[in-house]
Every structure is written in C-alpha cells, then in structure tokens.
C-alpha cells in the first residue's frame, strides 16, 4: 500500500476546478479504484459512472492524463510511483457533473440507422451462415459503447460536425449491418449522404483508443468507404452497373 495523489476535475456546466485527493493505493489497483477510494473517504458526492469494473460495459469512460480510457482497465502501476494522475470527463460531450457527461447524442445516432432486415429463413426454419461470413461482423459486435471513439474523433471533438457525421461507433454499426450476410437493406447511399462517411479522414484515433481493440478504421470505415467508391466514384463499376444492371 502506498499513498498516491490523484487530480480529479470537479464541477458542472457552471464551472469547476481540479481537486487533489490522496488515498492509500493497494496492489493491482486501477484508476477507477482510486476514484472510488477518494469518493468513499473524501468526496462522497463525486459523480462517476461505472458498472462492471471489468471492461465489459463501457461506462467508466474518462480522460486519464489527457488520454481517453476506461478507468477500470487503466492500472495505477502503468504510471510512475510519484506521478500525480489527472482525470477529466470526456471532452466531446456536455459535462453533467464531475466525470459524468451527457452521451445521449450517441443514442440518437443509433436510432437513425435502419434496423437489421434479414432475408427469409431457409425452408427448415433456420438461417445458414458460416464462420467465415460472420467473423468479420462479430468484431464490430464486440463494441461496448463506451463512446471513447466518439469522444476522440476530431470530426466531433474539434470540428463539431455532429450534424454531418455519426462518428466511428456508428460507422462500425453500419458496417456490421452492411456486411451481414442476411441483411437486405441497401445502406450505401445513406452511409455517404446521411451518415457522412466522407467526413472521416481515417486518422485512426478511434482505433487507437478502442478498449475492445476493434480495428474500427481498417476493418470498418475503410471498407465502407471502398463500397461507396464502387458506387459513386469508380467509373468502371459505374459503367458496368449501367450496362449490366445491379447495385
């Protein structure tokens, strides 16, 4: 056990400041444990979201030393023993209080996406899909909706293009649906026009911060961009479509 100091932003929309708390930190503790200790012993009313404390629910998204991370998966041992760790709420969402932000914008984006619409079942009442067909979309299903990618994406974070771009989390949601072997919806036009795939400039910060290690950019967004290219920018495929029909 050793005393560690942690610097946590406290406040709400009217303003706030960093407060320092010194607590007794045990072996293997993560940043969320330290926040809990500060809450238990020094600041009972401190607001922090958390649930599973095992990296499975994506509630405790925060910025630790400026890096977007899950508090429950960031070990104190990763920092110097005498380092004062700074913890802030996510920047891209309105602060409700202390470390808690209003992430409701994300839920509204999900509502905009046309739901899964499968083709009819096989004659025996089953659907047949093979491992190689579902593997790709299962990677995106790992998403725990921590919204760290949404928080970090500069299109939303710095340029505030919330009306133009749904953000990386929902790009992979769309990719998952579009690549689903049973889905029957043509999602390409909406992905280009409504969800704003062109706003992503593939600088890969979403992938860097993803606690589930989902390769958002290479496996999700870029393949969607390529599908859009085939539809809208590639003269050969466009011509072929004109001549032979099809999507």
């Amino acid at each position: 056990m050793a005393n560690r100091t942690i610097r946590i932003w406290r406040g709400d929309q009217s303003g706030g400041q960093f407060e320092e708390y010194t607590v007794d930190v045990g072996e293997g503790m993560v940043v969320l444990d330290v926040i809990h200790l500060a809450q238990m012993h020094h600041a009972n009313d401190m607001a922090v979201r958390w649930n599973c404390k095992a990296g499975k629910c994506g509630s405790c998204s925060m910025e630790i030393n400026g890096k977007p991370k899950l508090g429950c998966m960031t070990r104190m041992g990763d920092y110097e023993a005498d380092e004062i760790i700074t913890v802030q709420p996510m920047k891209s969402f309105p602060v409700i209080r202390d470390l808690v932000t209003d992430v409701s914008w994300n839920y509204r984006q999900n509502e905009r996406i046309t739901p899964f619409t499968p083709r009819p079942r096989d004659a025996d009442g089953n659907w047949r899909m093979y491992t190689e067909d579902v593997e790709r979309t299962q990677e995106f299903r790992k998403c725990i909706e921590c919204f760290l990618c949404q928080n970090t994406c500069h299109v939303l974070r710095d340029h505030d293009k919330r009306d133009q771009f749904v953000g990386p989390r929902f790009m992979i949601r769309i990719a998952q649906l579009d690549m689903h072997p049973l889905d029957t919806v043509d999602r390409i036009p909406a992905t280009k026009e409504e969800y704003g795939a062109g706003y992503c400039n593939i600088t890969r910060c979403c992938t860097e911060v993803c606690p589930e290690h989902i390769n958002i950019t290479d496996n999700g967004i870029i393949p969607m961009k390529e599908r859009i290219v085939s539809r809208y920018y590639d003269p050969i495929t466009m011509l072929a479509r004109k001549l032979f029909g099809g999507k």
């Binding site: 910025e63 030393n65 602060v95 067909d133 500069h154 299109v155 710095d158 910060c205 290219v229 085939s230």
Partner: protein, 271 residues
C-alpha cells in the same frame, strides 16, 4: 460550438493543445521528418538524371522502360527506346515514372493518416487539438482520394517491370551472376509487392466487397485471397515504410556504385 464552455472539464482548446502528458508529438514529428527527407532526396535524385545505373543495376527511380540512352545500358534495353530529341531535358524520366507510385502513396489510406497528422494537423495527435478550419473531410477538395484504386492499378502494372529489372540485374554483358546490388533490387521488388498487395482498395476488390464468402466456389477462393491480403493489410504501415526506405536505399546504393564511391561485391568481378 464545443460541447462544453471553455474551462468546463478542464480541457485545453486550440491547435495542438492537449492535456496529454506523454510525448504525443514524437510520432507526427518523426513522420514529418522521414517523409520530408525522403521527398527532398527523391526530387533531387530524380531531377538529376545521372548515376542511376551501374552494371546491370537500375535505380527504381528510373524504370528502364523510360530509359534514356547515355548511361548504363544500351538504348536497345529501353522499352520505349531512346528519348526523342524534342523531349525537354528538365522532365527527367524518373519524374514521369514516379507518377503512378507517387499517386498510389499519396492516396494510400495509411499515408493519408500519416500526412493528415504530420502536415495538416487534422488532428496532429489523438485527443490533441486539430488545426481550426471549416473542416469538410474528404467530401470536398480531398474527394479525389476516392480514386485510390486507380492509382493502385498503376502501381500493380509497375510491379512486373520491377521484377523484370530485378531479373535483369542477374545478367551482365550476357553473363549470369549475382551481386549485392541484385539482392538489393530483388528485396526492393518484394517489399513493394508486400506494400502494394496490402492495399485497402485491393483488399476490397479481392474479396472485401462480398457479404457472403461461403456462397459458391469463387467466393470461397476470394475469401482465401481476402484473408491473405488482410494479413498484409494489418502490416500496411510497416510495409509502406520498409518499401519507401528501401527504394531510396536502392537508389543510393546504385548511385554510390555508379559514382565509384563503393564497390559492389559480385560474381562478375567489377563493372
């Protein structure tokens, strides 16, 4: 409008501003330095029009199909023959030959990330303030990036020539042999192959565009190809840098041999 009034949350605002405490700028700075240095060397080397051949070796900056007459090999080796007299001397063949691979790299999904971060500051690093601008992403001026697959076609066409050149480097004055330069040139072709075949657009064309890999024999074959390309794709950045550096190294090596600064170890006993 930002999500919060300034000060709420304790965040920094503005270009390259961040509360990150690590050395986030090392990456983009190294990229800027590396790409910048390479570009300077390339322009100098390509515009120079000299010392690009030694013995059977040809610099990859000067593909032999645009080979001018004087240096290295004879005119008969050049695919298109000698330059016509009216050709302006300033437009070196290397600059023309560089167009396709250049376009391929400029529109490459990896390099885009690299230079958007290193040169354009959109953003300079993750959770680091982006350069303020009316951001349009790749929907407006940068919409040409969508033609990456055409640049890929060009790059794919070049690959056989590079192998042909590498093959040629094993024969000097009709005599088969091998030299350090041959190995350097073979590696150059191999690295470029790994880089080119790891391309995201290629991955899409090979199989990524399918939704059902199990539907028939051809999709299953394409699935296999897609898996292979995906593995290269995971290391796209690594091969992008390896091939980039190796091209320049190959050019430097041949240049130094050609200038007589170093001597190539080979079975022909000198050129």
């Amino acid at each position: 409008m930002a999500a919060n009034p300034t000060g709420v949350g304790g965040h920094e605002y503005g270009y390259a501003k961040t509360t990150r405490t690590d050395k986030w700028w090392v990456g983009p700075a190294a990229t800027a330095f590396g790409l910048g240095l390479w570009l300077i060397y390339y322009v100098w080397s390509a515009a120079q029009g000299d010392y690009y051949a030694a013995g059977p070796y040809m610099s990859p900056f000067y593909p032999f199909y645009l080979h001018p007459s004087e240096a290295g090999m004879g005119a008969s080796d050049a695919f298109f023959g000698m330059n016509p007299a009216w050709w302006p001397a300033l437009i070196s063949p290397a600059l023309i030959a560089g167009f396709a691979p250049g376009a391929f790299r400029i529109t490459c999904y990896y390099y885009r990330k690299a230079y958007y971060r290193a040169f354009f500051g959109t953003p300079p690093g993750c959770a680091v303030g982006a350069r303020p601008q009316d951001y349009r992403g790749e929907t407006f001026l940068l919409v040409f990036q969508n033609l990456h697959r055409y640049a890929l076609y060009g790059a794919l066409l070049l690959l056989p020539y590079l192998y042909w050149e590498a093959f040629q480097s094993f024969r000097y004055h009709g005599e088969w042999g091998v030299g350090v330069g041959s190995i350097v040139m073979v590696l150059n072709s191999v690295f470029l192959t790994f880089y080119t075949l790891g391309c995201h657009a290629w991955r899409h064309l090979v199989g990524g565009q399918l939704n059902c890999f199990s539907c028939g024999a051809v999709p299953r074959l394409r699935y296999g190809a897609w898996k292979g390309v995906s593995r290269l794709n995971e290391n796209h950045m690594k091969w992008a840098w390896t091939s980039l550096i190796w091209i320049a190294f190959t050019d430097i090596y041949i240049r130094l041999v050609s200038m007589g600064v170093i001597t190539d170890l080979n079975t022909w006993g000198g050129f």
